[in-house]
Amino acid sequence: MKRAVFIAAVLILFGIVCRFFPLFHVVALKRAETEKNAGVFNAAKFADDFWSEKLLKSFDHAVDAKELLAAIQANPADAQKKYARSLSLGGGYFYYLRGEGRVLATNDSSLSLAINTGGTNTEVALQTGMIFGNAVRDGTGLLNASDYPNLQDFNSISAELNKLVEARVLPELRAHARIGSTISFIGCAEVDDESTDLNPLQVVPIQAQIE
């Protein structure tokens, strides 16, 4: 009897607390989704806007591939100082380049392009497989990590931009690039260290045209 009274008292007390401090609210699903999305960073929309409003208008900033490759061949460290961007988040750095080359070979993940760098050809790999890394986000210098208090948001931009490359640029290359065809491209390259700069340079295309 004493025990039952105790349990009942606890339950009544809990009920009173819950009356003034409810444990949950039941709301319409649509309202809940609206509230959940309010203030949440939408990386997909951001990447889409960034692509059309900033990235496509920044091609003038890309360095000529011939100039860049020649500079890297001459002195990778000087080329890095002059042309590369670094976010200081890791040891790697990025190049933003434009150029034209002839397709030497194709495989599932890349096209091998020969770029004439004045007398000799230098090979560049244009990526056509799954896109990983932060080349597109960080290569242009248009986005700064310090503008994003949440690093997860900043990382999600990279993932969304890579998805856009896969959806908007790569299908055309995969379908129509053949050995011997000429491709003009604008893209970004992520380099881990100087020794692998031209090994070959791995370029993620932002725009590519087969001629």
């Binding site: 409810p22 444990l23 949950f24 609210h25 039941v26 709301v27 319409a28 959940k36």
Partner: protein, 323 residues
Amino acid sequence: MNANAKEWLKRLQPLIALVVMVVALSLLSDRFLTLVNGRNILLQISVNLCVSIGMTLVILTGGIDLSVGAILAFAGAFAADLLKNGIALPSMNVAIQFTPLGAIVAGILAGLVLGSINGIAITQFRLPPFVATLGMLSIARGLTLLWTGGFPVTELGPSFGFIGTGFWLGVPMAVWISAALVGIFYIVSQHTTLGRYIYAVGGSEKAAAFSGINVNWVKLRVYALAGVLAGVGGLIVTARLDAADPKAGLGYELDSIAAVVIGGTSLNGGRGSIFGTVLGCLIIGVLNNGLFLLNVSPFWQQVVKGFVILVAVAVDRMGTRKE
């Protein structure tokens, strides 16, 4: 020295060890004996204290619970996700949005459920506690990863964060919570029927059963309470970080077992106290803090901690053998 004095000396061993450590560290570092550092130590041990209270009850019955760290992680992640995302019920076109209090209750209930499953596995399926709770360790870790998708659940808000980062009367809320739990479970262990049964079961399960105690009933409650207390620890960790990390609580089971053993609770069960566990947590906390202040490498800190545990168990064994 008469037997009574010897018994008292034995009980006071952890306290003497703590006092010696405090005095030694005060002499070695002028930053040790300050109010701010004292508050830091209390804050740092608060989670281990919550978990260790449950572990004390389990060990007093002669059992062991290896799943407390994993339950801690699941309870934190469960509460955080409910608070952040709620539960959508598309078939009814509604969603349940949890308040911070609701999330806290849900986290504690998650601990209760997982702890009870431990108890059921041990009492109904006769699994050794080591095996049952080892299985639960893996289950709870897996559930945590499934529930969170392997990613931390972040930005839980200041209301929820208050239990981990808030202050009341200049003392961190986490310390108040752990102190309240110490008070409650001191009373439970020393002044209630359940407490007496726990000691009886740990002293001799057969004798307890013969004297009419429902041993399974006691064990089930003890493991359920250990789950609840791990859940509270998980809520504090999550609130302190403002994020539920699926990998939270790794190794906490060992820290709590260490605190319980250093505090004088016998691994054979039937002997020990909540007060001893508080001292055990303080000893570990003071040791970690002191070694850190003395710039001792974290690798050496692990070695020293292990050594202290060995000494504590050895002293306990020697005492038991003499008896």
